[in-house]
Amino acid sequence: MNPIDTVNNPVPLVELKGVHRVFGRGESAVHALAGIDLKVEPGEFLAVMGASGSGKSTCMNLIGCLDRPTAGHYSFDGIDVGALSADQLALLRRHRIGFVFQGFNLLPRTTALENVELPLVYQRVGSAERHRRALETLNSLGLLHRAHHTPAELSGGQQQRVAIARALVTQPVLLVADEPTGNLDSSTSQEIMELLTGLNREQGITIVMVTHEEDMAAFASRIVVFVDGRITRDELREGGTSCSGTPS
């Protein structure tokens, strides 16, 4: 895959058009997403808010190409995701997208370094190069001294930074973060948010982040609010930080 020019690309990175996602069938069917239209331009830092059960995670899974819409269209960087096979989705995730989860989801009993190297293993990067890049990424997140520690030996904030390093080591164009600070105390959350803001500003990485907290959303350049599977508010924040981007 070619790295794209994030600034001059005329195509939105993420474009959802009338997207529905229904779980189950008939009586018990759940309309997690009921007609979503959303465009995210390269370089944006988008915060997604909304009540529990409003469909935020479902939407993140779609944007992150872990799932396909039941109805409607999703194009990622001009590619129609609905038409891709499971393996093609996997390749898209492997090369273009990074994930950060609320629960960190690091492999247990595996060192920070090995966790960060993992995506590169799937990218078939040679072991020396893998090592170098993983260490470099850990270093940029201030975790070099913890490279050989397992998740059990790390604090929550450190674990989340390792998870971010794992998401960044492949230099993705899009970082999807579902409540990245949900399990952290407020000062650690602050640190992680500063980190994400820095990445967005300095490396131009597009970030889509779910959060429940106004303080965290305040770091973003744009906020959308979900209610019952629909977007009810979409606003650019004046004080927000972004390298570029316009709301749809």
């Binding site: 872990l66 799932d67 492997r94 989801n105 009993r109 595996t110 799937y122």
Partner: protein, 402 residues
Amino acid sequence: MFWNTLLMSLRAIQRNALRSFLTILGIVIGVAAVVALLTIGEGAKAQVTKDISALGKNLLSLHSGVSHRPGASLMSARAFNLADVDAIRRDIDGIDHVVPSASARSLVVNSNVNWSTTITGTTADFLPCRGYKLEKGRVFSTAEEASGNLVCLLGATVSKEILDGDEPVGQRIRAGRVSCLVIGVLEAKGQAAMGQDQDDLVLMPIRAFQRRVAGNDDVSPIYLNVSDSWSSTAIKSSVESLMRERRGILPGAEDDFHVRDMQEIASLVQGSASVLTALLSAIAAVSLLVGGIGIMNIMLVSVTERTREIGVRLAIGATSAEVMQQFLVEASVLSGLGGVIGLGLGLGGAALATRGMGMPFLPSPLVATAAFVFSVMVGIVFGFLPARRAAGLNPIEALRHE
């Protein structure tokens, strides 16, 4: 990628060292049992072959009476005599030695030491024919064989028992009712395959034995050494037709004698040893099956336990084929490891057992390779179901898994 998967699975196994060991225990035991049995069986076969060929090279023996058929016909069978021996010598080519023998259990006495042994009347050719060597003294001369002088050769056991270190050659001992001169002692040959002492014997010229010990002209059995370039089967049938003719057996009537071929007996024993080994190994192989099921069980548990891990791998871009490969490799590395440990234990056990039984230790590269390949196959076969389950997981559900 395969190399990385291999390393990953080694790490996963190492992380769960105790559980991994318990998982592969079934494979270890199965492979160890099969390898040990096959190796011991191979040693036993070699031992039997060695023992039987130690009875004499290409040895045939001609017995009166019907073989393998106890009953009336045994009683009525006429014994052979020295004329039969001469006839074989004269009429049949391809035999190195034709050696008459006749035996009786008897006491041998030196001053006041008694020893019960077998006295065999025969010729000097008995030694090369049956694979004996002279320790000291000399064998019967032609004159002694013809005249029936009372001279004898002692087996190593007899010499030890009744002379106890005294110089045997030149001694006079009593064999049954007759007194005879010891002219030589045989080298010890040791125990035979069936455990009897081959050195517990006294040899004397056949004529002397017939006249002074047995009191008749009977000869049985007659030993024949087939020459190297001749087939023992062909010689056997020549001897049979000669004897039928001499004994006046009508065409279609049953033989009242039989020829034993040591080579045949050896292959018979080897054959049944092989069948026995194969049978025991098959039983042991069942534990490999059980071991395989053990691996499947643990791998299924492991897939469930590591559902989140699988979700993470899928999220960061692993394809389901790669997840499948990972679990297949893990299962086969586990079982292959079990195979290698089992191979080591099996060979070690076989080495100890064969040493204990005085048999040769013959590890076979074929058995080793087969054990390894088979155990890896067990992993692939029994790892398939768990691996497919892992590969079939939906990334979102896997990530939500508690």
